[in-house]
């Protein structure tokens, strides 16, 4: 079936095919792009894409992978709430949301199906950083804008949206040093899922700050899997073994960590953690006792920025290939009930849904009010 002759003629035949495909798709242009405060290029070297302008309103598909944790569910609800907001509603003719599970073939198939159906943009959380070459080629051929976010691809051929994970690790480091007030002490670092690039990058960002020249921190590292239950248990163990910490950095599962601290009668110390509602509730309650908290995180609201980026690209604006979203969050001085945390919502609601530079703010009530109707 595949013999030596396989290779020879293909260069001609396929080269022709690829050549025609190469003409379609985005042009590489020079910056600056549209709305640079919101669509910030990842680095100064990031290239810019420009698609052919299409008349609106647009049909947008969201191809999620895994579904089943609160973050993903909130992400889906956010997408629907955002599509209903004034200023965006007029640009969206149809919004379809599907989840394909962890199967890469199903995700590729779904994206190709939406391209065939004539959708204008596909926003996706990739289940694998590799393997999307064919779909990208087809999307370019049909002038469909594909926007991976959160779990992005190892390619520079599509426009992608994410938060800088190293920065997400560095900010807690800076916060802890500021709040502890000296450059030494014992720090607990509660890490995320082992082997995940997000865990790795946040860890590197954190250590770069904490281990900078002149700092003498002793850092104890435990693995909390970004999960309240696991984080609570490993924190309890760490406190039992090491006694007292001067500060804690948690990648995820912060509510559990603070509860473990309270259960062990550990004095309140500065905690830099994720954007869980439960953590903010506890900080608001105990900040005066010393629980000085920083709460930042990977927001499910990234989906809204990705939709906004897709629409902007469809309107023919130049867009950075890799967009760095300003990290949303706040600390104990800014928390206000009903504004950036909600005492009447569950602990595992993700609070960070406002992106001031992008003019995007999806309030908790809007998100929670959205039922799971598929189409708007």
């Amino acid at each position: 079936m595949i013999k030596s002759k396989f290779l020879l003629p293909l260069t001609a035949g396929a080269a022709l095919l690829f050549a025609t495909a190469a003409f379609a798709g985005p042009k590489i242009v020079s910056g600056p792009g549209a709305d640079p405060a919101c669509f910030k290029p990842w680095t100064p070297e990031t290239k810019y894409f420009q698609w052919e302008k299409k008349p609106g309103p647009y049909r947008i598909a969201i191809v999620n992978g895994f579904v089943g944790n609160t973050w993903r569910i909130q992400m889906i609800k956010t997408a629907k709430a955002f599509a209903e907001q004034a200023g965006i509603k007029g640009d969206i003719k149809e919004l379809k949301v599907i989840s394909t599970g962890t199967d890469v073939a199903a995700q590729l198939g779904a994206m190709e199906d939406f391209i065939n159906q004539g959708y204008d943009a596909i926003v996706t959380i990739a289940v694998s950083p590799e393997g999307f070459d064919r779909v990208i080629k087809l999307a370019d051929k049909n002038n469909v804008v594909v926007v991976p976010f959160d779990n992005v691809l190892d390619t520079d051929k599509v426009m992608m949206v994410n938060e800088d994970q190293k920065q997400l690790g560095a900010m807690p480091g800076e916060f802890l040093i500021k709040e502890i007030g000296k450059k030494e002490g014992k720090i607990l670092e509660v890490r995320g899922l082992p082997g995940n690039s997000v865990d790795r990058d946040r860890h590197i960002g954190f250590r770069n700050v904490m281990e900078a020249a002149g700092n003498k921190f002793q850092i104890v590292e435990v693995v909390g899997n970004w999960d309240d239950g696991t984080a609570q248990k490993v924190t309890a163990d760490a406190i039992a073994v090491h006694g007292k910490f001067d500060g804690i950095y948690v990648q995820g599962g912060t509510t559990g960590v603070v509860r473990a601290m309270m259960d062990a009668k550990h004095p309140f110390v500065p905690v830099a953690g994720e954007s869980e509602n439960g953590f903010r509730k506890l900080v608001a309650e105990h900040a005066k006792d010393g629980l000085k908290g920083l709460s930042i995180g990977q927001s499910p609201g990234l989906v809204a920025i990705s939709m906004k980026a897709a629409i902007s690209a469809l309107k023919g604006n130049p867009m950075p290939q890799l967009i760095s979203i300003p990290i949303p969050g706040g600390d104990y001085t800014t928390f206000k009930d009903g504004v950036n945390y909600w005492s009447n919502l569950t602990d595992n609601f993700f609070t960070t849904n406002e992106f001031a530079p992008c003019g995007v703010n999806i309030s908790a009530t809007e998100i929670m009010a959205k039922d799971e109707k598929n189409s708007n």
């Binding site: 035949g13 199967d103 073939a105 064919r134």
Partner: protein, 351 residues
């Protein structure tokens, strides 16, 4: 004569009730999908659908063989992943190196299956436990080959295998680069679907008709009776697992070609194993062994997939989709079990 023929057909239908229901159900749901698709019944849609289905269909066929024998193979997803990771290393070159790479991948799949068979036959361990353990080993090997996703596949194979026959012919350079007049009638056919049919008819059908193949059915039906009839039980079991490994290996090769990379994705391997078992059951093969076949399992896969195809067309709440999918599957399996109601002797239920 015609009366005998029709009653013959009726009997065959009754014996293959599950299979028949699977085919009809698939036809109806798929027709609905194509009808509502803006580009329904076009080559692109068929190409996309069959690419998406191919690997799982292979795993479903792989799973069918041990199930017919009354066992379960929990390692099919891992074997697929292992071969996928291997393929991402050996299918990058060109010409004979690709040919050698494909042979190596197939041999790896077969070897993995044979090891499963040896553990079951000579270790005398239940298939479900044996393959749970070997599956973990294969997953470990896959992670060793590809600690992080990556690799590369020859672009032309990727293009030829994941498009229509016309593109295949043009890339390989046969039939006047796919422009021969007679070729046009089938030019829009998806290449992956053609390969699926080829694999089923070149590997599965001859196997089913062979003595070894019938031994597999006999083992699932009544192992003691099969042994007393002088059938070579050990050979049957080894062959069943080896064949499962080969099918899973073909699935892995296609997965690598389709994604142009290798990825030792543990959750995905698990999901594929579970889906392969579901496909087998929906396709009318009894988990107790002895009845059914790999063609039915292909239709089982098609049903499994076509339900989620419809989510892309019709408006179903995203968070309710898994529930909806589960209900349809439960319905499909229950329909297949309806024949129980007509059982005359209750003892038959214990089969």
């Amino acid at each position: 004569m015609s009366a005998t023929k029709s009653s013959d057909l009726g009997l065959r239908l009754r014996q293959n009730m599950g299979f028949a229901i699977a085919v009809v159900l698939f036809a109806v749901v798929y027709f609905l999908y194509q009808l509502s698709h803006p580009k329904g019944f076009s080559s692109q849609v068929f190409v996309q659908n069959s690419n998406e289905v191919f690997s799982l269909a292979m795993l479903a066929m792989a799973q069918t063989v041990p199930v017919l024998m009354g066992g379960l193979d929990l390692s099919v997803g891992a074997v697929m992943t292992l071969v996928d990771c291997l393929a991402s290393h050996v299918l990058e070159g060109s010409g004979w190196s690709i040919f050698g790479g494909i042979v190596l991948c197939l041999l790896t799949g077969a070897a993995a299956g044979l090891v499963n068979g040896c553990v079951v036959v000579f270790g005398r361990i239940q298939p479900i436990i044996a393959t749970l353990a070997t599956g973990a080993i294969y997953m470990g090997l896959a992670l060793f080959l590809r600690p992080i996703p990556g690799g590369k596949i020859n672009e032309d194979i990727n293009w030829a295998m994941t498009n229509s026959l016309a593109d295949f012919a043009e890339t390989v350079g046969i039939f006047d680069d796919g422009k021969a007049p007679w070729f046009q009638t089938i030019a829009g056919f998806p290449t992956s679907l053609v390969f699926l049919i080829v694999v089923a008819s070149v590997i599965w059908i001859p196997f089913r008709r062979s003595v070894t193949g019938r031994t597999v059915y006999a083992i699932g039906s009544a192992e003691g009776a099969a042994f007393m009839s002088g059938l070579n039980i050990e050979r049957g079991k080894l062959a069943a697992f080896t064949l499962a490994g080969i099918f899973a290996g073909i699935g892995g090769i296609f997965m690598a070609i389709q994604t142009s990379s290798g990825n030792a994705d543990i959750p995905m391997a698990g999901a594929y194993t579970l889906s392969s078992i579901a496909s087998v059951v929906i396709g009318g093969t009894s988990l107790l062994g002895g009845t059914g076949g790999a063609i039915g399992s292909i239709f089982g896969t098609l049903i499994l997939k076509v339900i989620s195809f419809n989510f892309r067309i019709f408006d179903i709440a995203p968070l309710l989709q898994p529930l909806f999918e589960g209900l349809v599957l439960l319905g499909a399996v229950s329909l297949g079990a309806l024949s129980i109601l007509r059982v005359k002797n209750q003892l038959e239920l214990f089969r």
